[in-house]
Amino acid sequence: MTRINELFQEELKIINMGLESFNENLKKQNVKTVQVDWKPPTRRNKKMLSLLDKLK
């Protein structure tokens, strides 16, 4: 048995980042998950990104 198969024999600890529908599908199969509300920044203006970072 490979290590990856061993992993799937255990209880999975899943953190889903971004697209929530992936999380919903897992929840429907009674899998415990943690959803992280995250989106890749779409803007590439470094000055603006640094201003936004200051507000976090």
């Binding site: 989106k39 920044p41 779409t42 803007r43 203006n45 603006m48 201003l51 936004l52 200051k54 507000l55 976090k56």
Partner: protein, 420 residues
Amino acid sequence: MVQERIEAANKKVMKIILNGQPTLLDIGVAGEVIPGMTKKTILHAGPPIKWEKMSGPLKGAVIGALIYEGLAVDEKEANKLAASGEISYDPCHHHNTVGPMAGVVSASMPVWILQNKKYGNYSYCTLNEGLGKVLRYGAYSDEVIKRLKWMENLLAPLLKQALKLHGPIDLKTMITQALQMGDEGHNRNRAGTSLLIRELAPYIIQTKFSEKEKIEVLKFIDSNDHFFLNLTMPACKCTLDAAKNIEFSTIVTAMARNGTEFGIRVSGLGERWFTGPAGIVDGLLFPGYTAEDANPDIGDSVIAETAGIGGFAMAAAPAIVQFVGGSAKDAVNFTLKMYEITAAENNIYKIPTLDFRGTPTGIDIRKVVETGILPSINTGIAHKDPGIGQIGAGLVKPPMNCFEDALQAFVEDLETKNLV
């Protein structure tokens, strides 16, 4: 943490916006009821602007207002007076007022008087003149002035009397109903206008005016699908004004255009304007006009989008695409996109086609800058030359730099307070 301060401030702002209770109280005369008005004050749409920088339609509306007020006899005299320095120009927004397109308000004009019953603040707006050759699109011919005088001498006094008989009208409920009936409250006001007539007609009939005058007034309102716009706008204005000046809030409390510049105000940044060049409206033009005839974006009516209706509620108004262009699916997509840049879903303004999801409400400058998604605005298109009027309708976006400059100012303010 600064983020917590911002979130708490935005929560407070959104509570104020969502709890707003815009109510129509009365009709008054601008010079008597709008704070700070004088006989030589001309209020205009958008951020502050000097006469020499004004675009054609705004100049045309100023000329028309000076003739209407009897301060000038013709265009030549009005032009001279307008440039003389004797006239005091000021944004409507600085006087609790909003005006569609050129947004020109002068002392003798009748205005709707609204109050946000929840917070006590007032707002004002002129009565809508109809489409085509009208002052708000910069037309100032005899027919335009004659109509304004008719509005002053018959329409306003009659409606004032009808309103007195009726009592205050809860506009929030009426706008909510209009959204259920296919309006979005900015560029489609057919349902709202119909609801207003339905509400007022029994009282119009009871006024002391003649049968002929009552018929004239009812026909005038019925002939103009945008009559209700001049009520949705001040309804949004008094709703948003209550949420101004909340420290640390990144929510936009005003967006407005003067035909030259687009400007925004942010709750946590007080009365400051952040401006950029007004865009060109992408839409459908009336027969005989081309894109070269169009003036850049103009008017305070974008207060609708600022409050979560108008372009933000496009999904509620699929029929509007026949007026502004695009498909019914586009209308839904415009609304869906706006959820990305707003802080809340409206608790009262709901969209039937989205399973009664609340409209996206409360533009957050952080989200606009982060996602690069700009607010979608439904609007009319004015001819660039004074005296012609409306030539079409369509969609437009604000310049991104308004939001970027506001964000920078916001961070600078926090730096001076040693918070970042």
